[in-house]
């Protein structure tokens, strides 16, 4: 007779604890899907957020469009700012819903359940990233299409594969950075809130969100070396407006794609390392087990 209290019977705890590599891998992959689920579901369940996260950035982008028109800037600048406006969705998602998230999960009591489960905790971060990517993509696509249509942006793409590749690499590096920040913010505790605020406008500025980053000179070069948003946006602008008189002073898209690959690898390794350090510290100091610490 089947009982709800007997699901996967095992002869002994030792047998139940002995997992194959395939079982371990399958669990990690399922955990990614499991953690992405609330984000993807939330996208469709809370429609008001979709409105606010699309309408407000669209207005912010529009403001820059009108400024560029008023000063009679080259037409491609309208395209630059529309592309930047679309990419803000991902950056906001990274800092609010990746970097802040573990801290919030701890305060809700979720984090200790994640650590107490048999999956690799990196799966949770990947799940958060994947779910966040789906959420932000909706917003980014709507802003891009709406603003391009309304303001008549004409894209000129010669290398579609490279453009798509750079876009995906930018997201990989961005969410990799988000994973690193998630662990760091958790260690820094309540200061994380201020850090998040600090990472909005200054990063918009040094990433050249609303203007070509080459205009920033040495600061722009530094940003390209450190910030995925800066390097990704610069490469995408060069590729999406191939016939434009793009300001000189930044590497070619191919070089920038390589920078993004390097960033992705470094951030993912760093995320894995910081998460291990975090778990060790948490178990040593009780940061996980005591919800408010």
């Amino acid at each position: 007779m089947s009982s709800p209290f007997v699901f996967r019977p095992t002869a002994s705890p030792q047998e139940a604890a002995n997992w194959s590599r395939r079982q371990i891998l399958a669990t990690d992959l399922r955990a990614v899907v499991g953690r992405a689920y609330p984000r993807v579901t939330g996208l469709f369940r809370e429609k008001s957020w979709v409105f606010f996260e699309i309408a407000l950035p669209f207005l912010a982008t529009s403001a820059f469009v009108f400024v560029y028109r008023a000063v009679q800037a080259p037409a491609e600048y309208i395209g630059f700012v529309v592309l930047g406006g679309a990419m803000t969705a991902f950056w906001l998602n990274v800092i609010w819903m990746m970097a802040q998230q573990l801290w919030w999960e701890k305060s809700q009591g979720n984090l200790e359940l994640y650590f107490a489960a048999p999956m690799n905790i990196m799966s949770v971060l990947f799940g958060m990233a994947f779910g966040g990517f789906v959420m932000s993509s909706t917003r980014a696509v709507v802003v891009l299409v709406a603003a391009s249509t309304v303001y008549g942006v004409a894209f000129a793409v010669d290398q579609w594969f490279l453009l798509i590749g750079v876009f995906l690499l930018t997201l990989a590096a961005l969410y990799g950075l988000g994973m690193v920040l998630a662990s760091l913010f958790l260690m820094w505790g309540r200061e994380a809130w201020h850090l998040t605020n600090f990472l909005v406008e200054p990063v918009y500025f040094v990433s050249g969100l609303n203007f070509p980053i080459a205009r920033l000179g040495i600061v722009g070069s530094l940003a390209i070396a450190l910030l995925p948003l800066a390097v990704g946006l610069d490469a995408m602008r060069q590729l999406a407006f191939a016939d434009a008189a793009y300001p000189l002073g930044t590497p070619s898209p191919e070089i920038e794609a390589l920078i993004l690959v390097a960033m992705t690898v470094v951030f993912l390794l760093l995320a894995r390392w910081t998460l291990r350090i975090l778990e060790r510290l948490a178990r040593q100091e009780g940061r996980l087990s005591i919800r408010w610490q």
Binding site: P13, R35, A117, S289
Partner: protein
């Protein structure tokens, strides 16, 4: 090892845990030794701050001991965390885990994925458990709209998703009303009875709960195990005399009239705590042994008192605690004793921009059993 070749379900040796907080480090556990056999329902009973939760966090691999060793079914809590996490689960009282935006089914399915259940099996398992814990009608309801009792039933279902061999329950009925608490207790017992060898470690500060559920109990205070045994064994420690409560139609001369009888150690008027006015007299009687009761009954007949009711009073676990600690279970420690093993909590305001966080989520008003 236990009597058979099976390792102990819990084997704790000399565990100490110190929290390095300022200005003074707090010693939460001070050299705890504990052995729990497979299949036991074991209780840790103690007041807030006794060290129960710290011990459970160490056993669930969330906290490292400062000193000593602990094993779960032979797996070391420091080095073999993955193995332990595959065979255990835990539920805490007042748990607010998960995401308010999800329905009960979705939330449980999400957690099933963390334990590696294939997606379809996960949904099937969730449906079985939702029915088993009595949440069938709420299965499509958002988590944020559940009552405290419903939420705890859902947490309990979460804890059973992976068919654990050992189940850690940290104050599982905290904040539940009488009916919900009973329901949770029945579920735990039903789950445990389904497979021999399943083990439960329960921490609680509800004496009656520990008495009802546990095969053995350790009474803990200030990070030490003060006594360990079956509930009956513990109570016998403090039962040195026979205590009876008598209800009489009248008692001329009051309880003092009984005090003079041979074998009577004390006779006092019983407190009437229900507020009703009575036409009868209630007396608490402490005798050297049960044999002295005959003398009392004879003497009462001699003075024309009729016995309306007679009840032998058994010591409670609270009596055991008072005997061991020198204060009541809910009384604050005196100066010089550490009141808590955990410092006060600062405010932790969740991020209102988090979409996973349902802004409508709220703490329920809680009625303590």
């Amino acid at each position: 090892m236990s009597g058979s070749s099976q390792p102990l379900a819990i084997d704790v040796r000399g565990i100490r845990r110190v929290y390095n907080v300022k200005p003074t480090p707090i010693v939460a556990l001070q050299g705890v030794d504990l052995e729990v056999e497979p299949g036991e329902f074991f209780g840790l009973l103690g007041p807030n701050g006794a060290g129960k939760t710290t011990l459970i966090k160490i056993l669930t691999t969330l906290l490292l001991p400062s000193d000593g060793t602990a094993k779960i079914f032979g797996f070391d809590v420091e080095r073999q965390t993955k193995q332990i996490r595959r065979i255990m689960n835990m539920v805490a009282g007042g748990e607010q885990s998960g995401y308010g935006i999800l329905t009960v089914r979705e939330q449980l399915w999400m957690f099933s994925q963390f334990y590696g259940l294939p997606s379809k099996d996960g949904w099937r398992r969730v449906d079985e458990l939702v029915d088993a814990v009595g949440l069938g009608e709420q299965r499509e309801q958002r988590v944020s709209t559940l009552s405290t009792g419903q939420r705890q039933k859902m947490n309990f279902a979460r804890g059973l998703l992976n068919d654990p061999w050992i189940f850690f329950l940290d104050e599982p009925t905290l904040g539940l009303d009488v009916s919900a608490a009973r329901s949770v207790r029945e579920l735990v017992l039903a789950w445990k009875a389904a497979v021999p060898g399943r083990t439960v470690l329960l921490t609680t500060h509800y004496m009656a709960e520990a008495d009802e559920l546990c095969d053995r109990i350790a009474i803990v205070d200030h990070g030490r195990i003060l006594a360990l045994g079956t509930p009956d064994e513990l109570k016998k420690r403090v039962q040195r005399e026979s205590v009876f409560r008598l209800e009489l139609d009248r008692l001329d001369g009051g309880p003092a009239a009984l005090k003079r009888l041979p074998g009577v150690l004390s006779a006092t008027a019983a407190a009437q705590d229900d507020g009703r006015e009575r036409q009868t007299v209630e007396v608490n009687l402490t005798l050297e042994d049960d044999a002295a009761l005959g003398t009392v009954v004879g003497a009462l007949a001699g003075i024309g008192s009729h016995i309306l009711a007679l009840r032998k009073l058994e010591p409670s676990l609270e009596d055991v605690f008072v005997e061991l600690v020198g204060r009541g279970f809910d009384e604050e420690p005196t100066d010089g004793e550490a009141a808590d093993s955990e410092p006060p909590a600062p405010d932790t305001t969740p991020d209102p921009r988090d979409t996973a966080h349902e802004p409508g989520e709220r703490e329920e008003e809680e009625a303590v059993v």
